[in-house]
Symmetry: C2
Subunit: 343 residues, 2 copies
């Protein structure tokens, strides 16, 4: 599943100096491996915020060659000293993937989410503008910014009406990138990602989306619990497709743009759970349970992403079908069982 | 100009306990006077942030009767102690008008704007939810959230693409109110205000919009400088119309809604400057000067507000025409000359 894709209109990553914020987390670490495979020099900034997805083992290399990755453990909005500025100095590309992803945590601690997803990014953009104003920067946003929508699928002209603090803060972080692009000429792009699954995702926290929870239960032979009737629909994206979108977004037409990044195929949660059970070997039951209040009050109903724009402008499209992606994902976790026991 | 309007579908303000955040500032203090005239009990929270619009003299009463207003000098997001919680306890309505309004200041100090317009409001909403979850709350947002738009006039379905940090942070503050409305049933409304002028506006700061700057220069007989060719259009709203919209927004159909609040008539900046010169008596020149960089990079071009929705749902419409409003405004400042000398 770890394909190395070359994008003809990208800056060419071999020899490029790439910074990955959140590089010890799920999406960030998969990107780190891709960049190393492509011959880039990689620098990582990661806050290792407890209960988030960051873990140093995510960037372990099969050949035990870790010398290519420089890792700074820091919040991207760190204001004491200039470790962040020193790390991004001279970089060609910054993949700004760091963030808080839990919707329920954003409601129980709104200030923390606003700090991690908005204020830290404002501080980071100030650092980028001061130290490395010519860098290419690609930010990851989320389809959560849209909230409940009137019609599906959802394209980028739809007004964003987030239903939780995470959606509000991620939208602010995304818009800050666009403000810096327009006001200061920063070469920034933001990608609104759908639900993402794949290797190196933290499986042992319950707040990081339904996919890692379902996958954990399936791998452990435990019951999968679906809230409500499971009829809500989602399009799920394998992390390799996200990595490809991040790389595609370093090409020139992407500057100053916000793109949806999702899969053309959507499924009901009940269907997705069924595919996960099948991929894990079938020794798991699916059970429908009443909605917990803290989830129901921020539920968005069904969602389906329209990714036409990034396809037309950057040539990106999802390559991994759900069944194949889940099978490969299960194989990865069986080979790396610590993901199921780590806390 | 200080009309007292009664809204048949409002909760009835006589005897109501009303909190006004930012109540020592421009819009807030005009609202305070209206509420006192209507027989409400008024409590004010104001941070008196330097260079903002807050001044204790704004709530001075002609009859020197200030006993009706309880004033707490505090940020609405204050976390030490519970002075804010004690002030809002028992209130019937909160008019949440506090905020940072300078577009250029939001670019020179992005973190401060995000704190004042977003994080403080998140903290405030947590306090409201804890202390007084049944209160009616009306928040003031801004047309700045839209940024540069493709077509005019702009209605609420237009996607928000702010061009400066102020627009990003105000949008986040507005959306936080909507999240709390949807998730917790808070009876919140937000109004996206156009350019506002009238009595009790801070005239001596340059960052609070072009209207107070033009009005100051006209009153002092100084040249009015227009950036560029002055062809950009704006719709200007007298603060009495804003006060009426705030009161209208306490009615039931407004709960969970965001409304544009602007004037149906828009004018070019050159025309607006001409009206201001006329209202001041004509002893002022208008000069066209090149754009300063810090203004040009966040300019939005022309704007015109479509306020159809609030008209249809709440019966609000602007009552004050620009020429009349400016004439009355000039008369107010001639009677209260300290607005021209205060720093």
């Amino acid at each position: 599943m770890t394909q190395v894709r070359q994008w003809g209109d990208g800056p060419g990553l071999a020899g490029a100096i790439c910074v990955v914020t959140g590089g010890l987390g799920f999406i960030g670490s998969n990107l780190v491996h891709h960049l190393l495979d492509a011959g880039a020099a990689v620098r990582v900034i990661d806050g290792l915020v407890p209960s988030h997805g960051g873990d140093r083992r995510n960037v372990d290399r099969p050949d035990d060659n870790r010398v290519d990755v420089e890792v700074l453990i820091a919040r991207i909005g760190e204001t004491s000293g200039d470790r962040v500025g020193e790390l991004i100095d001279g970089a060609d590309v910054i993949f700004n993937v760091a963030g808080q992803v839990s919707h329920t945590a954003s409601m129980s601690d709104p200030l923390n989410d606003l700090h991690l997803n908005a204020l830290d990014h404002a501080q980071f953009l100030e650092t980028v503008r001061r130290v490395n104003p010519a860098v290419r920067i690609v930010h990851t946003s989320t389809r959560q910014v849209y909230g409940r929508v009137a019609s599906l699928p959802v394209d980028e002209t739809t007004a964003a009406n987030p239903v939780d603090v995470n959606g509000v803060a991620k939208l602010a972080g995304e818009q800050l990138h666009m403000v810096y692009a327009q006001a200061y000429g920063l070469a920034a792009t933001s990608l609104r990602l759908s639900n993402v699954y794949g290797p190196r995702q933290r499986l042992t926290s319950d707040g990081l989306g339904f996919l890692p929870v379902f996958i954990r239960h399936a791998l452990l032979g435990e019951k999968i619990e679906i809230f409500g009737d499971g009829a809500q629909r989602r399009d799920c994206l394998h992390v390799d497709d996200v990595v490809a979108a991040l790389v595609a977004a370093t090409s020139d037409p992407a500057v100053g743009r916000v793109y949806n990044v999702g899969h053309r195929c959507d499924h009901s949660l009940a269907e997705i759970a069924g595919h996960i059970v099948d991929a894990a070997g079938g020794a798991t039951d699916v059970r429908f349970v009443p909605w917990p209040g803290d989830h129901q009050r921020i539920d968005i109903g069904s969602f389906a992403t329209d990714s036409t724009l990034i396809g037309a402008e950057l040539g990106w499209k999802p390559e991994v079908e759900l069944e194949d992606g889940l099978t490969a994902t299960m194989a990865f976790y069986r080979e790396h069982p610590w993901y199921l026991s780590s806390t």
